[in-house]
Amino acid sequence: MTVTSMPRAAGADQPRRAPARGAAPRRRRSRIIVSRLGGGLAVLVPIVLISTFITYSLGALSNSNPAATILGQDAATPAAVARLNHALGLDHPLIVQYWNWLTQAAHGNLGRSYFTQIPVAQSIAQRLPVDLSIAVLAVILAAVIGGGAGMIAAIRRGGWFDRGVTVACSAASTLPAFVVGIILVVLFAVTAHLLPANGYVGPSTSIAQWLAHIILPSLALSLAVSADIARQLRTSLVEVLEQNYIVGARVRGLPYRRILVRHALRNAAGPALTILGNDFPLMLAGAVAAEAVFSLPGLGQLLLQSAQTRDIPVVQGLLLVISCFVIVVNLIVNTTLNWLYRANDGIGT
């Protein structure tokens, strides 16, 4: 076949936007992604500052007298309390205390527990793997269960599967994670004896045992998020599948499966991914629930203990770590979204 070049159309048929500053579109696009990432970080910094300040002020709001608590009733002479307050830096104005705490936190030093003198960072690091395990598994489960259900419901919309998913989603959104967790324990542990009802085994001890111990908690806290994702993905996928460009891809003779994955799912995934990011704090609450139901030695248990004993540095440290967690997840989700839709959004304007 010969390819002859047609006389080039002059004038009228030029690109709407002239090639910008000579940069190739692809390079221009990645530059925009980078600048967006920078913008995202610029937005995050004040958020981190506000969240951590709220966090820190909570400790200061407390009318407890940490020095007196630490010293005990007998030794708490005014002079001793003043000396300890000075040593703890509690005699500075709140904003100075906050700044000192923040700069220390930035170096990984979250202070020490008032009671056990164990560094807060150390206790948190010890318990983080528990929550990290169930949270990561829960995200995977939510993506697989919610994504799968939403996708099939959208493709077979109006069918029995679609209706089933609808009902299941409504039910799941009224059942809190701790109730779901208990139901799972009753079903799989107490009645069927398939999985352990509680406890935690690290992956270094036994991968199989580790999975057996985290699967039910993860399932419990992923359910509500799965429902959200299924609902959202179904909605946006139904909308995408009605778009002309799906017909366009079909008349090109592309295999339907490829159209579903490369064209429809890719364009419909954004809102569902946003949900995953938005729901992450919800999942952390669910993780605390799962820890309580399944007696897991995680951050939630540490928080409850420290709250009971009013161990303020531990509470502050925990809140800081959790807030950073949420912010990092949001950043990851936004970066993914920007990457996914790098081509679509006002590039070149």
Partner: protein, 303 residues
């Protein structure tokens, strides 16, 4: 924005009617729960431990032989009132700035949105627990941060709805005719925004009730013998071997109440595609960052 339908047509939906009946029942329990309870919720009966539902104990007894029905009825008031406390705080802190931000200029809007973003990153359980650490172990204290963390949801919904109406041409016309901003807000905008706020309030009440149940389940804010919904669930959890069916009773009560609130909120929202999942008018490709001011009205979940 989701389109809202009038209260009359919404109430014709069977789901809305059932929800109203359930919520009226809960309201009665809130007011007279302890009085109506068939037995003393604190009476221990060593001869009737872990009894299943029966004629004498309609919902059975717990590990101390206490009547579960009476405990749940007596526990309703604290759960519902503290949930309403949180919703009230969220409503006041969220809707006021939500309406104001549209009229107070870009800087206020920017700042309010940043604070909202920051608050939305904070998980409520951790904050509620932290507040009890700081201010003492009480449910009333614990629900203050929950209320504060509900405020961003009210804020976003109200701001989006206000923005939509404040830029409508009839508002512009009213302003051109010399009406003051305050007058425009009061007469034109507020009336349009109220239904949206009502829907959000119902969803947020559901979220707050979940939060209360969860906090009482964790043992935050209550002393052990006092009955609460979450507390009943928590004590059942310890004796699953003896009574595996027990957690389903308080669990169902929580789920039904939350479900009724959600159903009511849904009924007032015009939902396309009845019978299948609600089609929410999300743009196909939403590219805004979740940390940027999002004029969305996601309100079903609160963390």
């Amino acid at each position: 924005m989701k389109r809202l339908i009038g209260p009359q047509s919404a109430l014709r939906l069977p789901s809305a009617r059932i929800a109203i009946v359930v919520l009226l029942g809960i309201a009665v329990l809130t007011a007279f729960g302890s009085t109506l309870a068939p037995q003393n919720p604190l009476t221990i009966n060593a001869n009737a431990l872990f009894q299943g539902p029966g004629a004498h104990h309609l919902l059975g007894t717990d590990y101390l032989g206490r009547d579960v029905l009476s405990r749940l009825m007596a526990g309703t008031r604290l759960s519902v009132l503290t949930a309403l406390e949180a919703v009230g705080i969220g409503l006041v802190l969220g809707t006021g700035p939500g309406i104001a931000t549209v009229f107070l200029g870009r800087w206020f809007d920017f700042a309010a949105n940043r604070v909202t973003d920051a608050l939305m990153t904070l998980p409520y359980v951790f904050f509620a627990v932290a507040v009890t650490a700081a201010l003492g172990n009480g449910l009333v204290q614990a629900m203050v941060p929950v209320g504060i963390l509900l405020a961003p949801f009210f804020f976003r919904v109200t701001r989006a709805a206000t923005l939509e109406h404040a830029r409508a041409q009839y508002v512009e016309a009213a302003e051109l005719m010399g009406a003051s901003k305050l007058h425009v807000v009061r007469v034109h905008v507020l009336r349009k925004v109220l239904p949206t706020i009502a829907v959000t309030t119902a969803s947020m009440a559901a979220a707050a009730l979940l939060a209360v149940s969860f906090l009482t389940f964790l043992g935050i804010g209550v002393q052990p013998p006092a009955p609460t919904w979450g507390g009943v669930l928590s004590s059942d959890l310890a004796y699953l071997a003896q009574a595996p069916w027990a957690p389903f009773i308080p669990g169902a009560l929580i789920a039904v109440t939350v479900g009724a609130l959600n159903a009511l909120a849904d009924a007032f929202r015009d939902r396309r595609g009845a019978g299948t999942l609600a089609a929410q008018p999300d743009p196909i490709i939403r590219t805004h960052s979740t940390l940027e001011p999002a004029d969305d009205d996601r309100q079903s979940q609160v963390a």
